[in-house]
Amino acid sequence: MTPYFNEMFQNNAVRPPYAGLEGWSADMPADIRLAKQAEAEALFRRIGITFAVYGEGGDPDRLIPFDMFPRVFTHSEWAKLERGIKQRARALNAFLVDVYGRGEIVRAGRIPGKLVYQNDAYEKSVCGFVPPKGVYSHIVGIDIVRTGPGEFYVLEDNCRTPSGVSYMLESREMMMRMFPDLFRENRIEPIDSYPDKLRRTLASVAPAKCDRAPTVVILTPGHFNSAYYEHSFLADLMGVELVEGQDLFVDGAFVYMRTTEGPKRVDVIYRRLDDAFIDPLCFRPDSMLGVPGLMDVYRSGGVSICSAPGAGVADDKAVYTYVPEMIRFYLGEEPLLNNVPTWKCGEASDLKYVDENLHELVVKEVHGSGGYGMLVGPKSTKQQIEEFRLLIKADPSNYIAQPTLALSTTPTFVEEGIAPRHVDLRPYCLVGERIELVPGGLTRVALREGSLVVNSSQGGGVKDTWVLSE
């Protein structure tokens, strides 16, 4: 018996949300399944949804594997998650406004100032500036794992530019195309309003100086970026221009884009570019990807940048441990979603515990992402553990550790048929004039048997995520 919570089967019975999928999967002959899988892959490749992995050579047109077996939530399961996500997104934004303003939470001693103000992601150039509607992080991606029927944990927050939403939308598109009957038989909440909601969210934070319908653009690092497909996909669905730094320029108090008809003013920039690169006059002077002078225009209210520069200080893995505290401090509420217990290696007592229990823990770099620079204790060899022990000792404050969570599994099509594989969930919460999110999110699945790492750069795949209507 597996100790993991299986989202479909419990005590040899099918859990209600998956009832509509039991017959579908059992009745599908292997040859049909393989043909459908091939069809999906061909479609993804034809549309151009590919994913380049940072720092790896190989096929630049690699696909993220798509698993056809949907992951399902009941309406009430989702309602609870949704409340928790919105609560968290509100608190994270309140925190950002605070630490770039008076820093009440630090003054009150609820979070150490060192963690905030000496953080690499803390951007002193935006101190004293309150972005339109008081929003720093306009798209909050919150990674959630499940360990039991009602047990959900937040693994990490992504306040800068969480990626993957195109896979959420395309996975749904693919399923509706290949299995229309499933959508007739199951009442599934639609998600296709996401691009409209995103555009409305961005338009709602146009700067005060914008006196007409705001022009929104998406700023991409360029077509060599691994997420370029997503940038272009979103721009298309939102009906806005996809620009590179070279397409924008500052003239006087505003930002303009270079068009065939001359300069056109830009009001809101949804940037998919790290802070360090957005303006060579303010940040890295060698950046060729940004827009010189952009920060001056931003600070004087001529343009909005989403997410706001400096938003990253809220999603730092060391700051993460204080999010429940933020919720209590700013909202006066108890957190609806739990954090995973976390040990901060920068603190002596925690470091001692981590050192003694390394074989049972998951250790992550504080600033790492994409599943790189992490150790999964129970899945590592003695030698790997010892190597990692040295890394931690060399720079303890760069690491946090968490217990190895018994991540839930969902049925997944594998070579031999259907088998349970571990999953997580990334919903995308939009924060502007209103806070909203589409039902569901991106389900990532660790396709390797027993693997707990769902990152696409580490052999993870994606699934369609269903939220059933009431």
């Binding site: 630090v106 103000y117 002193k124 935006v126 006087g252 303010c282 002077p285 002078g293 001056d296 004087s300």
Partner: protein, 269 residues
Amino acid sequence: MLLSVDHVTHYRYDRPVRGVVQSHRLMPSKFDGQQVLDWSVTMTGGTMGSAFRDGAGDWVQGWTVAGPVDEIEVRVSGRVLTTDLAGILRGHKEIVPPEAYLRDTDTTVADAALIELGQLIAAADSPLSGCHALMEAISAAIAYKPGTTRAQTTAAQALAQGEGVCQDHAQALISAARAGGIPARYVSGYLQSGQDGMDHEAAHAWGELYVAGIGWIGFDPANQCCPDARYIRIGSGLDAQDAAPIRGISRGSGAEILSVTVAVQTQEQ
């Protein structure tokens, strides 16, 4: 003391560039030691962007010049009435918490030698006397010698070679201070020193260290003193690059030839 400033930065491009964007911090800081009588910044062919006071209290003004252009002149001139406050930055409004100035940058990472100097602060009777001791030590360790360092020279490199200019003094000071647990920042401004006012150090830089209970205090290792009435404070940052009075970029392949003249003179009141 009534000081007058005339500061001209001249850019020439060997081939015309398609446009220039600059971000200026060229206004004297607002605090009890400085009163601006008149002040102007002009840029040939430039369009003024909007301006704002940043969280560190600096006045930032954006400028753009539409190309093609092969010559640009930025001229700063004005008069400031200064008062000697023994280096204390009194009455300066800012929001950035002092702790944010404990962070390192590429040019101010402390090496073993700088960390050792930083220990002077803990060794002194009080943080204030520790800061003075550190300034003396930096001053003794780095001899003033123009042309021996570049804009990118790090604090550690300058200390190791024992020579440099005011930028190196200031960066070594703040690097060692941070290593000693004192928030520290780089300050750019003007200094009246030579008789004729045309001194090589007229465009000057020094450090500011944060001493709990007192606040930000200027220390100038290059002249072994705290800024007095001869100093005009302009802006600050984590290092020289972050505090640069003019940051700019041109669009085009033309190579830039830069010349700067600065004159700071005392005037009869």
